[in-house]
Symmetry: C2
Subunit: 354 residues, 2 copies
Amino acid sequence: MAKLFVPYYITRRLYSGGGGITARKYVLTKYFKGEPKISDFQVIEEKLPDLKEGEILTEAEYLSVDPYMRAYMIGYKLPTDMIGGQVAKIIASRNKNYPVGKYVVGSFGWRTHTVCDPKVPEKLGFIPITLLPDIDPHPRSLGLGVLGMPGNTAHFGLKEICRPKPGETIAITGAAGAVGSHVGQIGKMLGCKVIGFAGSDEKCQYLKKELGFDHAFNYKSANIRQALKEGAPQRIDCYFDNVGGEISTAIMNHMNKNGRVAVCGSVSSYNDEKLPKVTILQPAIVFKELVVEGFLVNRWVDRWNEGITANLKLLNEGKLKYQEKVYHGFDNMVDALVGMLQGENTGKAIVKVK
Amino acid sequence: MAKLFVPYYITRRLYSGGGGITARKYVLTKYFKGEPKISDFQVIEEKLPDLKEGEILTEAEYLSVDPYMRAYMIGYKLPTDMIGGQVAKIIASRNKNYPVGKYVVGSFGWRTHTVCDPKVPEKLGFIPITLLPDIDPHPRSLGLGVLGMPGNTAHFGLKEICRPKPGETIAITGAAGAVGSHVGQIGKMLGCKVIGFAGSDEKCQYLKKELGFDHAFNYKSANIRQALKEGAPQRIDCYFDNVGGEISTAIMNHMNKNGRVAVCGSVSSYNDEKLPKVTILQPAIVFKELVVEGFLVNRWVDRWNEGITANLKLLNEGKLKYQEKVYHGFDNMVDALVGMLQGENTGKAIVKVK
């Protein structure tokens, strides 16, 4: 389970060192209980080493907050550096492929400055450190969204796990989030009918009016079974599940025979101390002969650039829309994480470091 | 959902007629609520027609009671003939491939006599009507067990959905039932470690001593998490799920990355009026990247004989053991169904008509 993101001991090997610069970083010292709290962390300073041949020194511009962060930390021994993606500027370099002034996307964690050899994570099977392409006039933070891990999660998860055919109906929960809103747009481009579930009327309007979803329902106020009848009279062929919970059982019970479910996350239960109970899935799975498959995006590390390139092409053609919820300040990482888990964001939640 | 077993309107077209003989049959007139009851049925007489060219007249020797019967009837409009498999003797024939005195296995439902054209079900995509091979000294009732639908469910479900590799660990719930006990034996032949969960200490002893299961636990008395630690220290690679329920969540949480789950049934909830709630599966599915696939055995109707032949070979080589719980009398069908649902049987539950 730890393989998707660089764990502590490897973090140390990869990224620590020294070198005149002092980094600030978040160290998790208590496992989350309920919502993450600032008191679960210590923010400490760390002297970075001089660069060795092949290494670069980066300064974080944007940090990512993602649902997986709430679920993953239980897998690490404490204390541990907090995990997470960054868009960072190269401010010193002894690697000619990574010149000063360029930006990289890397899983450096919640820290301001990093020393690393950009080739190492990929060699170890982790998400690679990539140079951010020139995406002007779009913000560089897209390297954490449609052009990064969430973008690849949407691209590969929908195409490889759900395998939708034109004319089929796709349901998406967490539909206004970074991954869900991207999945829906790809679904429409593939010629599918797309039904989204999100947490506010405003989000639903955005999905329908801006992103072209056929239907969007506020799961907090809608009668889910009624919404499914109304939005998917031909029932559901593909379900992209970001949330788990009771709504997922209802959706699976509204699926067609041989439907495919991509289980991307279970955010509805991440803050619970004990996993909640919901109506069992097995009757739907067996009688409809569903395939319910969980996936982590690092499954496609070998094809990482294929996803980024596909999404960049869509972005450049104006076919891929995005929205960001930008939090500000390195000191506000926990607030950003909590806000994202509460659904404050439409699209990708990120933190601008300065 | 109705495709696995011949529904009412097709039953009429296929099997009804007339011809001097009077059949007795069970007609379901009320949907089951909780345990099936005799008052949910009417047992009526039906005059059968004369045989047309290609048709046969059969007399039931053994009737099957299977878990699916409890779950399926909700899919039919009432009143409807009760569905189910039979081993039946051909007592009149206008089809030279099906001579008088031979026995067939067919999905004729709960009825004593049947007129049918044996080629029709297969043409329509239903489980075929097959001649029972000579299996002396074994009882003909095996046509409803290891040499019939449950046998093919075990053969194809394990091999095609779980795809176990030698050395892997397979968990099975409902392990002492017709399908589960068969799955475990195939698992052992494939070089796997096999862990079964069943409903009594006696069943567990049978699984270990007679069928060669590595471990068997009484799910009614065991601490499931402790049992999994003890029985599967290398965790579970394949799970053959016959029961659903909380135990299935516990097992999926004890699986290895990229584990495969064949969802064959959900018998733990069949008698419930409202589907029960259990701890959600999604966290295990996503973080372990499990594939959870439901299946109905009619998926392999085109390969039906391949499964029967494979199981017959194992039986003839003495590699496949079986046990039967035989109920007696056409009037006791409901008692047999209820008893099987309560877990009275080890191995296959059948009813000897006379």
